[in-house]
């Protein structure tokens, strides 16, 4: 095995343009993500955040431009046989993307099982460990259909962590979750950042997540990175697009808070 597990790898996005027919979704995106860094890509709906992360994960090929992970071009990395990959990349999807016919344990160990890299005993032990890490211990034999949205996200994160990856891409990891679950998932990602020296790219429109997990944020707007910096710098940005995004996010956040207070009042 050539690979030293879970070290973290850098990502470089160089002038990436991506078009669907006549529609240009990304218009010259440039980014550098350092090894071990957690970057949040923020932006409104339809700004191409998910497309960007899919391009980085090698699920789509950019119309032009280059994306490198750990110094390797993405197609070059994708073409390597699984046992020759010098580093591993995992991804957590918006809809969790757990295979419905497999149990939680089978989902979590799927990659190891398919590549025959671990014994049954090792896979079971890894599964137990990562399920505990995402606070889903004891759910090994459940089917995804028996889990709530938040639980599915946790299992998806456990599946991503099971192979001890160097890089994790998250595509809207808190989509369709309520504020409480959003915070819980955010805390889990933050814990991964604290406990594992890996690189994480989190695509989201959720400011709570950005606040909890980001070493750095990048604002995607009009197909380009409009701004990059720390979360605090981002909050004081003077860029009109970023300001309007922040205003909208604050309005939504305060409305959510008010709703939560109402709910608590009713319960009490």
């Amino acid at each position: 095995m050539k690979r030293t597990p879970g070290k973290g790898v850098g990502v470089t996005v160089d002038n990436v343009i991506h078009e669907y027919g006549d529609i240009r979704v990304l218009d010259g995106v440039n980014m550098n993500i350092a090894a071990g860094e957690t970057l949040c890509v923020l932006g409104g709906s339809g700004t191409g955040k998910s497309v960007l992360v899919r391009l980085m994960a090698g699920l789509e090929v950019p119309t032009s431009g280059k994306i490198q992970i750990g110094g390797m071009m993405v197609p070059e990395y994708a073409a390597l046989p699984p046992d020759e990959k010098p580093f591993l990349v995992s991804m957590v999807f918006q809809h969790s993307a757990l295979l419905g016919s497999l149990t939680v344990e089978e989902n979590v160990t799927l990659r190891m099982r398919e590549h025959g890299t671990h014994s049954e005993k090792d896979m079971h032990s890894i599964c137990e460990q990562v399920l505990d890490e995402v606070e889903m211990g004891g759910s090994n034999n459940k089917l995804p259909g028996e889990l709530s949205g938040g639980m599915k996200k946790r299992v998806a994160l456990a599946r991503a962590l099971a192979v001890n990856p160097d890089l994790i891409f998250y595509d809207e990891p808190t989509a369709e979750l309520d504020p409480v679950l959003t915070e819980q998932i955010g805390l889990l990602i933050a814990r991964v950042r604290r406990d594992r020296p890996i690189t994480q790219v989190v695509v989201t429109h959720d400011m709570v997540i950005a606040d909890l997990v980001a070493d750095r944020v990048a604002m995607l707007e009009g197909g380009r990175i409009a701004e990059e910096g720390s979360y605090r710098e981002f909050l004081t940005s003077t860029d009109p697009g970023t300001r309007s995004f922040l205003e909208a996010a604050r309005v939504l956040a305060s409305r959510d808070q008010a709703d939560n207070k109402d709910e608590t009042g009713k319960d009490g």
Binding site: R54, A57, G58, L59, P82, K85, V89, S90, M91, F93, Q94, H95, A97, L98, L99, G100, L110, R111, E114, H115, V163, F169, D171
Partner: protein, 265 residues
Amino acid sequence: MTEPGTAGIVQRCGRTVLDTLSMSGEVLLLLGRSIPGPRSLWRERPRIVEQMIIVGSETLPIASLVAFFIGMVLVVQTADQLVNYSQEVLGSIVGLSMTKELGPVLIAFLVAGRVGSSITAQIGSMAVYDEVSALRTMDIDPERYLVTPRITAMALALPVLILYADAVGILGGCLAVQLDPAINISLALFWDNLVNEIAMQDIVVGLVKGVVFGVTIATVSCAFGLRTRGGTAGVASSTTQSVVWSFVLVIVFDFIIVRMAVLLP
């Protein structure tokens, strides 16, 4: 007014032809990439067996019912046509119709409608909800994981189902001969004529059709599933298209195989 209308029709026809060619290419490429080698077959055997069980359990009950009644209808209808001639040939007509044509095509249509559509819907949902992408990010080839077991299972299961449908259809025919007062030959005569006239070659042609139809239905169903986009509406549209394509291709390949079989010595 006529000019844009004509142009519109030409444009639509052109688009349909291009889409058909593009889809045919996709299906052929998928088939080429998914044909398993011996090692792959061995490795995928649990999933192949699982898929064979699905094909069998989804098709057997309805296949039994339909084949049984087709056999009976065939006897009654043919006997009516032969009312002024000898009904002694009834056995060979029913036997050859079932083994060479009705059994294979009937089973292919049933499998396309029940199993093929569910394959497209299942893989289509997996594509829409990023499960196929998740496999890719785990370095698991979706074609090996999803398509190869289904193609192999269908190629193995359809000939068996066809043999079963032939047997049940002939059984239905026997029952009609026995019970229908309009039929004036004995069951023994019907059976002797049937057994004497059906050659091994006729059964083999039916089985070859089964393999070809199985591979066709599985490949088409998987191809439409994998190219599904656009949520549940996309899944519904892909499923309908895959069933239509499967029906059409089954008939086309049926003709080709029959034509080739006629050339055999």
